[in-house]
């Protein structure tokens, strides 16, 4: 136990009991993924992944809230580590078996909120792709179904009700988790077929990242402007004789997003200009324009994600953001009743060389159980970011117990 924790514990236990509010929730979920096809580097066709997630928060004082979240997971495909160590950094190639997913303290004083610790920070207004969402690294072990990772940061927000100003300082870098080299979501080019590639590790950025965002709520519209100076959470792969290692390019980003509810639908737009001060990655603009409409129990979101590359750099980078751009994106969900729903998601590249469609049915049973069955179709050819995963169409059966 660190010195800081030892110093803080007596303070925490001496907080007045009268002010205590403790709340908790969590779930136990088991996902069975079935792949009809094998992949050249992965013959596994059935993967079971079980996750126990526990979240708790404690309102220690009217102005102080402590929150934490813990994950324990096990899978049959070694996407999760098999060592029983408690991870808090989220820097491992595999998902940690035991992980402190989130832990933070929130201090509120009037219009000011300060949040310190490992936390989730989400920016942007679009629903399908968020170019301005820079403090949100992801777990891409299954590329089409990423999960967000928390970052270690200090966040200060001043919210007047109509305007909010958000300042984030991230002293320690959290990378996105890229697909494992020996599994199907890494599609290797033919030129390296038969060569055993080894991940030689990563060179993480030594300095901190900073971001600021202003959000304004007007009468019938909302917009934000944001700035980020830090690093891309997605790596550039540098080749070596016996493998490759990962570096993370510097990134400076200027972003904006807006939502305007109109008579028939809501328009949401989000755009960001990515520049690379160390010239280690391409410079480009990514934008999303989406339309959203709710018709009774049917919710529809459809839009277009585009990009414009302004400066190219000859590096090899894993970039799902650009991979999902130049595409028509859509999401539809129909709520059958209070227990059942169906949903469809789609991304179709404008060149027709890659597409992904997911259909899902979900039903809850009683107060705690939910079952989900779905299928993801991926089509296309090897030269396209989406199309390269054409062997990875999969069916999913999930069972969750929430408490």
């Amino acid at each position: 136990m660190g010195k800081l924790a030892r110093a803080l514990l007596p303070v925490l236990f001496s907080l007045p009991l009268a002010a205590q509010t403790f709340s908790q929730r969590g779930y136990l979920e088991s996902d069975l993924t079935l792949y009809p096809e094998t992949a050249p580097n992965d013959s596994g066709q059935a993967v079971d992944d079980s996750l126990f997630r526990y979240e708790a928060s404690y309102q220690a004082l009217p102005w102080l809230r402590l929150a934490g979240s813990f994950d324990a997971r096990f899978d049959t495909h070694e996407q999760a580590e098999r060592t029983a160590r408690l991870d808090w950094q989220d820097r491992s190639l595999q998902r940690p078996a035991l992980s402190l997913r989130e832990f933070n303290a929130t201090i509120t004083k009037g219009k000011l909120t300060a949040e310190f610790g490992k936390q989730f920070i989400r920016w942007g207004k679009a629903d399908i792709l968020n170019p301005t969402d820079r403090f949100a690294p992801k777990d891409f072990l299954t590329v089409t179904d990423p999960d967000f990772l928390a970052v270690l940061a200090a966040r200060v927000t001043y919210d007047t009700g109509t305007d909010s100003f958000d300042f984030v300082w991230q002293p320690r870098f959290t990378p996105s988790r890229t697909p494992l080299i020996n599994e199907r979501w890494t599609v290797l080019p033919q030129t390296v077929a038969g060569i055993s590639l080894v991940d030689l590790g990563a060179e993480y950025p030594g300095r901190s990242a900073f971001g600021a965002r202003w959000n304004h709520i007007g009468s019938g519209y909302e917009f934000s402007a944001s700035f980020y100076d830090g690093f891309n959470s997605l790596p550039v792969f540098q080749g070596a004789l016996d493998g490759f290692f990962r570096t993370y390019p510097e990134l400076r980003l200027y972003g904006a997003d807006a939502a305007v509810p109109l008579r028939w639908f809501t328009v949401k737009a989000e755009a960001a200009y990515y520049t690379s001060p160390d010239r280690q990655q391409d410079e480009y603009v990514i934008y999303v324009l989406q339309f959203e409409r709710q018709i009774k129990e049917l919710s529809i979101v459809a839009g277009y994600a585009g990009d414009a590359i302004t400066a190219r750099t000859p590096t090899l980078q894993f970039s799902p953001e650009l991979g999902f751009a130049r595409a028509i994106l859509a999401h539809a969900q129909y709520t059958i009743d209070s227990n059942r729903s169906v949903a469809v998601d789609a991304a179709v590249r404008q060149n027709g060389r890659g597409s992904w469609i997911r259909a899902e049915y979900s039903q809850s049973f009683g107060q705690h159980w939910r079952a989900t069955a779905g299928y993801s179709w991926i089509r296309g050819d090897d030269g396209d970011f989406l199309g390269q995963f054409h062997r990875n169409s999969f069916g999913l059966l999930a069972l969750r117990y929430s408490f």
Partner: protein, 249 residues
């Protein structure tokens, strides 16, 4: 003769209109408070009589028109933490945002989406707004009884500034304590939703229905909301009703 008759008719209809508005205004005045909070238990009874239970915590600051409220689900487990912020306005429809903790995102509920059911209950997003007296035109339709109690029966139609899924509503206001006993809301002449208020008790000097039953005429389903731990005028702060407050829980 016919002109005189028409003039009398106009006068009487103006008189009725003013009375109806005054009744609704008095009803609003009597239920005015600096704040309100309660824990709600919702029993959602589907068309096939399947019952599901949900719970939320509700907090409101201000009254009629200038109020803000936050409603946060506490059960069932899978929706725990889902919250709705409603900022009511005197001159237009409310602004609403929904917070979904699983994706750490808030989403603005657009005006055209307000007819949607709120999270599997029979309330629509619009039903969760406060009805400000100045956003409707009223006509007294006569007297009626609800649950054996004498009521004024009043038709209300939203003004142009108030976008609504309903073209009209019929509101029953109790004559004994000016509480609303029932609201039937229509699209043209078709009944969309009936909200029935019962178990009316005096809490801190305000007559308040402790049971609210919403009937969705299209789906033939109903939701019964019971208000527990109801409290008025508890100290609350304006800064606890912002998007940031919605996010931090």
């Amino acid at each position: 003769m016919s002109r005189a008759f028409a003039f009398c008719l106009l006068l009487s209809s103006l008189g009725f209109a003013q009375d109806a508005r005054q009744i609704v205004a008095e009803s609003e005045n009597r239920s005015r408070s600096k704040s309100q909070q309660y824990e709600g238990t919702l029993e959602v009874v589907g068309a096939s009589n399947k019952v599901s239970i949900k719970r939320w915590e509700y907090r409101r600051i201000g009254s009629y028109g200038a109020s803000k409220s936050i409603l946060r689900f506490t059960a069932p487990a899978e929706v725990k933490g889902v919250a709705l912020l409603i900022v009511n306005h005197t001159d237009r429809a409310s602004d609403q945002w929904m917070w979904t903790p699983a994706i750490e995102r808030d989403r603005r509920i657009a005006a055209q989406d307000r007819s949607t059911r709120f999270f599997g209950t029979d309330f629509s997003f619009e039903d969760l707004e406060e009805r400000d007296v100045d956003q409707f035109d009223y006509k007294l339709m006569g007297d009626d009884t609800i649950d054996g109690v004498a009521c004024w029966k009043i038709e209300s139609k939203p003004r142009q500034s108030k976008s609504s899924q309903y073209t009209s509503s019929v509101v029953w206001v109790r004559k004994d304590n000016y509480t609303v006993a029932q609201i039937e809301s229509y699209s043209q002449s078709k009944l969309i939703r009936r909200i029935h208020y019962s178990d009316i008790q005096n809490v801190s000097g305000i007559w308040t229905p402790r049971t609210v039953e919403v009937y969705d005429a299209n789906r033939k389903s109903r939701t019964v909301l019971k208000l527990e731990k109801l409290e008025y005028n508890a100290p609350m702060k304006d800064e606890d009703f912002t998007l940031e407050a919605l996010r931090r829980g």
